[in-house]
Symmetry: C2
Amino acid sequence: MMKIYDWYTGPYPARVRIALGELGLQSQVEFESIDLWKGEHKTPAFLEKNYSGTLPVLELEDGTLIAECTAITQYLDALGDKPLLTGTTPLEQGIIHMMNKRAEIEFLDAVSVYFHHSTEGLGPDVELYQNDEWGQRQRDKAVRGMRYFDGVLKQQPYVAGQTFTMADIAVIGGMIFAELVDLAVPEECEALLAWYAKVQERPSVQNRLALSAPNPVPA
Amino acid sequence: MMKIYDWYTGPYPARVRIALGELGLQSQVEFESIDLWKGEHKTPAFLEKNYSGTLPVLELEDGTLIAECTAITQYLDALGDKPLLTGTTPLEQGIIHMMNKRAEIEFLDAVSVYFHHSTEGLGPDVELYQNDEWGQRQRDKAVRGMRYFDGVLKQQPYVAGQTFTMADIAVIGGMIFAELVDLAVPEECEALLAWYAKVQERPSVQNRLALSAPNPVPA
């Protein structure tokens, strides 16, 4: 049995949970909760598992650790007979990886920096250094990113083209994080909002929290 | 003929130039210089090619544009009969993507932020916003990253294991950028320095600048 270290409501953990659902691999993993709000991802023990101190991390049966959502998704997607999320042709692979990275740097990661630097973030015990001006800049970048992806989705049904891929999941991560920090999508981003309404109907997205949660669920 | 938009001395362009050399694809691309020092990567015309305003960008014969080093490398590596840089098994793919991303966030990207925010960077006409405190933090992060990769390379010959991969190229990018900004590798990082001496002997690394340069070469 593989194990995933994550926190059930986290936007980055959501990416791998959605990938698991899309690939039908839910039953092949167990989850171990790492409480972000207590900073459990920054303890020396956890940093041994992932130097970057981020969630999620996948642990294989032999103890091999794979961190980073893109890497975990690439691994899981390659387990099957045919990749579903990362492309089959060189062109598909290239475009999906480009749009996935763009979703990170222009949207999801920018929202994350805003959260950690310009809001209370995970609280004073975890946020040991904040740079509010940088965080505000990243918030503005994220909103520009929303407008960019709105433009993309005016041209094509999914972020990397005609099918749902890892790149859509990265933008979903951005939308989840934006909701958590009350960063509204501009009303005029109709294509982005319509795409989000559509992808939220996918079972992988709907069921992601239920895959596992700490017991008892925090208030 | 494929085209690459880049700047010949750039650390990120170096990543794709090295990948081309490793894959033996040098003769299949032509280069168009985008002068970073004049901010040509931030012009509206170039932002149409790459929303993020970064180099390099690969343009296929049909006009398709692929930005982001990882995506370009993934594309080029998939063109051949067998991937050489991005792994063949799911496990190899996962580990290589993890270490590649870790090399970016913990080292190369951190050096880049330091350059753009805490030094003169590309000059006042290009660096329209600087956050020196953030840049200094990223410099410190990059030096920690050097120590981390030194530890990795004490355990194994290459960044992602037993063979030279995309992840090594990302760390090479970090080393190239660190040299440009006079950010010294701590002397005690003997494994990192030995690895770097070794990989610098590869023709792909030695010949990267000669693949193309603006004519005349800037002073």
